[in-house]
C-alpha cells in the first residue's frame, strides 16, 4: 500500500505539471492544491463484463486513496457506453469492443478533438458445472458449441470422452445454462464460439443476447445462471471468472489453439493477454490464444477525449486510471476477482495514451504534452 501510494504520487504529479505548463499561470494554484488531495467527480458508463472489478476499484480508490473524489460507473452495456461517450454525457466510456476508425472520427467530430482509447483489463469467461467430479473436465470450442446447440446432450458423449480419456464420465444429461439478460459475458463467450466454430457462427452468431436453441435454461444475471447450474445435476453454464472463484462450482479446462487444456486462473488469463499483439492504435482482438493462455477471454477498453474536461476532472481521471493500472493494491483486487492486469510494456503504452487526456485543451502545445507522457512512462518503467 505504502509503495503504491508513493508511486502514485509521482505519477499523479506528472500530468499536473503538464497541465500547469500548458495552460498558463492560472491553473498553477489549482494544480498545487489538488496535487495531494483530488476532489473531482467522474461519471463513466459502459461494459458490464468488467463491472465487478470497476466497482471494487472505485470503492477502494474513493475510500482509501482519494477520499474526496467520487466516481460513478454505470454498467449499461458496451453499446450504451459507446453511445453515451459519443454524446458526451459521461466523462469516460467503456466497452468490450474497441472503437473503429470511423467511430473515432465521429467522436472527434462531435467533440472537436481527438478521442482516445486504451485497454485496461482482461477477463475470462469460465465454464462452470454443478457436478464436483467433473472439475477439470477438458472441453474445446467444438464440444462447447455442441453442448449449447444441443448436439451433445450427455457428459459421456464420445466427443467429450475423446478429450478426457482418463475421466470416468457420468451419463447425466447436460443442462446448459445461459444468461437471459443482455450481457457482455455472453458477448465474450459467443464471440469465442463464433470465432472458433464455423457452424456456430452461421447458425447462432455472436452478441450480447442470442436466439438460443430450445431446451436451455436461462438465468437472470450471474446469480440466475448460478441458480440454474446448482439446481440441476447436469448443470453447465458460462460465467465471469470472478464468480467461479467465489463459488464452489467445478470448472472446465478449455483447450486452446495449441491443443492444451487450460485451467481458468488469473495466470492463464494474463498469459492469454500476452498472446495478443497490441498495435499502436490499441485496436485488437484476443483470438486464437495458444501457449498457456486460457482461450475464452475478453478485453475492456476505456474511452476519453483529448479536450473539453476541466482541470479537476482531468486530474482525477488520469490519476484514477493510473492508479488502477499500476498500483499494487489495485492489481491485487483484480487478481482476487479473476481479472488480469496488462503486461508491463502494455501498461507503459496505455499510461502514455491515458495522459493525453485533455492535452489539447486550451492553448496547450501538443509537443510538450507528448514529452511529458514519455517521461512519465519511463519513470513508471523504472519502478
Amino acid at each position: 500500500m505504502r509503495n503504491g501510494r508513493s508511486k502514485l504520487a509521482t505519477l499523479a504529479a506528472i500530468p499536473l505539471l503538464a497541465a500547469a505548463c500548458s495552460s498558463g499561470g492560472e491553473d498553477t494554484e489549482n494544480a498545487n492544491t489538488s496535487g495531494d488531495a483530488l476532489s473531482g467527480s467522474l461519471t463513466g458508463a459502459g461494459a458490464s463484463f468488467p463491472d465487478p472489478l470497476f466497482q471494487d476499484w472505485i470503492y477502494t480508490y474513493t475510500n482509501d486513496v482519494q477520499p474526496d473524489t467520487s466516481i460513478n460507473y454505470q454498467s449499461v452495456g458496451s453499446g450504451a457506453g459507446i453511445e453515451q461517450f459519443m454524446e458526451e454525457t459521461v466523462d469516460f466510456g467503456s466497452s468490450e469492443e474497441y472503437l473503429d476508425d470511423e467511430a473515432l472520427q465521429e467522436a472527434a467530430d462531435n467533440r472537436g478533438c481527438e478521442a482516445l482509447q486504451f485497454p485496461v483489463t482482461f477477463g475470462s469467461v469460465v465454464i462452470a458445472m454443478n457436478n464436483p467430479e467433473l472439475d477439470g473436465l477438458a472441453l474445446d470450442a467444438e464440444t462447447i458449441a455442441g453442448i449449447y446447440s444441443r448436439d451433445i446432450t450427455t457428459f459421456d458423449d464420445p466427443a467429450i470422452a475423446e478429450l478426457n480419456p482418463e475421466m470416468d464420465l457420468p451419463s447425466d444429461e447436460i443442462v446448459p445454462v445461459h444468461r437471459s439478460d443482455s450481457s457482455g459475458t455472453t458477448a465474450v463467450f459467443t464471440h469465442y464460439l463464433a470465432h472458433e466454430v464455423e457452424s456456430w457462427d452461421e447458425e447462432y452468431g455472436e452478441g450480447k443476447e442470442l436466439d438460443w436453441p430450445s431446451g436451455l435454461v436461462g438465468g437472470q444475471q450471474n446469480d440466475g445462471v448460478s441458480q440454474g447450474i446448482t439446481q440441476n445435476p447436469g448443470g453447465l453454464g458460462y460465467v465471469n471468472q470472478s464468480f467461479a472463484q467465489e463459488s464452489e462450482l467445478s470448472v472446465a479446462h478449455v483447450v486452446n489453439s495449441d491443443g492444451e487444456p487450460i485451467e481458468p486462473t488469473t495466470e492463464s488469463t494474463i498469459a492469454a493477454s500476452e498472446e495478443a499483439e497490441v498495435p499502436e492504435n490499441f485496436q485488437f482482438h484476443i483470438d486464437d490464444i495458444g501457449g498457456s493462455g486460457y482461450p475464452i477471454a475478453g478485453t475492456n477498453w476505456i474511452f476519453t477525449y483529448t479536450c473539453g474536461y476541466d482541470q479537476e476532472t482531468t486530474d482525477t481521471l488520469v490519476d484514477y486510471w493510473t492508479w488502477a493500472l499500476t498500483d499494487e493494491s489495485a492489481q491485487e483486487i483484480a487478481g482476487e476477482l479473476g481479472y488480469a492486469p496488462l503486461g508491463d510494456e502494455l501498461t507503459e503504452r496505455v499510461i502514455a495514451e491515458l495522459e493525453r487526456t485533455n492535452s489539447e485543451n486550451g492553448d496547450g502545445s501538443e509537443d510538450g504534452e507528448d514529452e511529458d507522457s514519455e517521461e512519465d512512462s519511463a519513470e513508471d518503467g523504472d519502478q
Binding site: G77, D181, S182, E209, D211, S214, G215, Q227, Q231
Partner: protein
C-alpha cells in the same frame, strides 16, 4: 354500497350570498371547476401520450415487420445499427410466455380464491373472518421483487422443484409436463404469479359473495339444504359475473407482472409447449434486455411494450363486455 353517485345538489348560482361572498368569490367557483376538470383530463392526456409516444417510438419496427408479422414472428435477432432496423423481430415467443404464465396463474388462483372467499364469508368463525381476510390481503402488499427473491432462492428449490419432479414422473408422458425439469420455467413463474394475484381475486370474489341477498340463502336453508348446497347452488351461480370480473382483473395483473416473472421464467427466446420449459414473457424480456440494449433493440422492445399494452387492453375490455352481458342475461345465470 352506493356505486353510482347521486347527483350532487347544484348550488344555485344566482342565489343571494351572505358574508362568504365577495366579488372575487364569484369568480372562484368557475376557476375551481376548471382547475379540477383540468386535473381530471390529465388522466386522458397521459393515456393519449402513452399510446402516441410509445407507438411512435416503436413504429420503425412495426413498419419493417408488419403488425401481425411482429406479433406472430418467431425469430428475434437484434441488430446493432444506430439508425435503422436491421434485425428480425418477432414477439411470439414472448407473447406465448405471457399468455401461458398468466393462464397457469388463473387456473391455480381462481378456484383457490373462490374457495377462500367462500370460506371467509360462509364458514369462518365470526371472530376469525376479519383477521383471516386481512392476512390474505396483506399478501398483496408484498413487493414483486421480494416475491422473486423468495421464489428463486427458497420456494423453487425447496417446494416447487421436488413437486415438479414428482409431477414429471407422474405425467411426463403428457406434452404439457414433458421433462426435463430445469427448475426455472413457465410453471414456477405461473405458480408465483398465482400467489401474487390471489389476494386481489379473493377480495373481489368475497365482495361479490357478501352482497348476495340473504333471503334466498335463508330460503334454501329452510328447505333443508346443507351449507355446501347453498353455496354451490345459490351463492356461486348468482356471483358468476363477479367471479369472471375477478378472473379478468387477476389476468390483467398477471400479464403485466415483471420482476418476479423475470427471476423465475428462465429467460430464453424460444418457446415450447411443456410447462417445465423456459421462455420469456413480454414484460420480463423488456426488463431483461433493456439495460444493455442498443438503440435499435430498444425500438423493438418498445414495440413489445405496445403489444403488451394492447393485450392487457383487450383483456380489460373483454372483461367489461362479459360482465355487461352477464348482467343483461342474469335470469339464467345458473350456468
Amino acid at each position: 354500497m352506493p356505486t353510482e353517485a347521486p347527483e350532487a345538489p347544484q348550488a344555485p348560482e344566482e342565489r343571494p350570498r351572505g358574508t362568504l361572498t365577495s366579488g372575487r368569490g364569484r369568480l372562484a367557483d368557475p376557476i375551481f371547476k376548471w382547475v379540477v376538470a383540468g386535473c381530471g383530463t390529465l388522466v386522458l392526456i397521459i393515456l393519449a401520450l402513452m399510446v402516441i409516444r410509445t407507438t411512435a417510438e416503436a413504429w420503425p419496427v412495426f413498419a419493417k415487420e408488419g403488425f401481425f408479422g411482429f406479433l406472430f414472428g418467431e425469430e428475434w435477432t437484434s441488430g446493432d445499427s444506430r439508425t435503422e432496423i436491421t434485425g428480425t423481430y418477432g414477439a411470439w415467443p414472448f407473447i406465448y410466455g405471457t399468455l401461458i404464465t398468466a393462464a397457469i396463474a388463473i387456473v391455480i388462483a381462481l378456484p383457490l380464491s373462490i374457495m377462500v372467499a367462500v370460506y371467509l364469508t360462509h364458514m369462518a368463525p365470526t371472530r376469525l373472518a376479519k383477521p383471516l381476510s386481512y392476512t390474505v390481503e396483506l399478501l398483496a402488499a408484498v413487493p414483486s421483487v421480494i416475491f422473486g427473491l423468495w421464489g428463486l432462492h427458497w420456494f423453487l428449490p425447496n417446494v416447487m422443484r421436488p413437486f415438479f419432479e414428482w409431477l414429471e414422473g407422474l405425467l411426463g408422458w403428457f406434452f404439457l409436463f414433458e421433462g426435463p425439469v430445469l427448475g426455472v420455467g413457465y410453471l414456477p413463474a405461473g405458480i408465483v404469479l398465482a400467489i401474487m394475484i390471489l389476494p386481489i381475486m379473493t377480495a373481489i370474489v368475497r365482495e361479490v359473495i357478501v352482497v348476495q341477498p340473504l333471503d334466498q340463502q335463508m330460503a334454501s336453508y329452510a328447505l333443508g339444504s346443507t351449507r355446501w348446497e347453498v353455496i354451490t347452488k345459490v351463492v356461486l351461480p348468482s356471483s358468476f359475473s363477479g367471479i369472471v370480473a375477478a378472473a379478468m382483473l387477476g389476468m390483467g395483473r398477471a400479464l403485466g407482472e415483471t420482476i418476479a416473472v423475470l427471476m423465475l421464467i428462465g429467460g430464453s427466446q424460444s418457446w415450447g409447449a411443456s410447462l417445465f420449459g423456459t421462455g420469456s414473457s413480454m414484460a420480463s424480456h423488456i426488463a431483461a434486455t433493456f439495460g444493455e440494449a442498443n438503440p435499435e433493440t430498444r425500438t423493438a422492445l418498445m414495440a413489445i411494450g405496445v403489444a403488451l399494452f394492447l393485450v392487457t387492453m383487450v383483456i380489460n375490455i373483454l372483461a367489461r363486455v362479459i360482465v355487461w352481458r352477464l348482467g343483461q342475461t342474469k335470469g339464467d345465470a345458473a350456468v
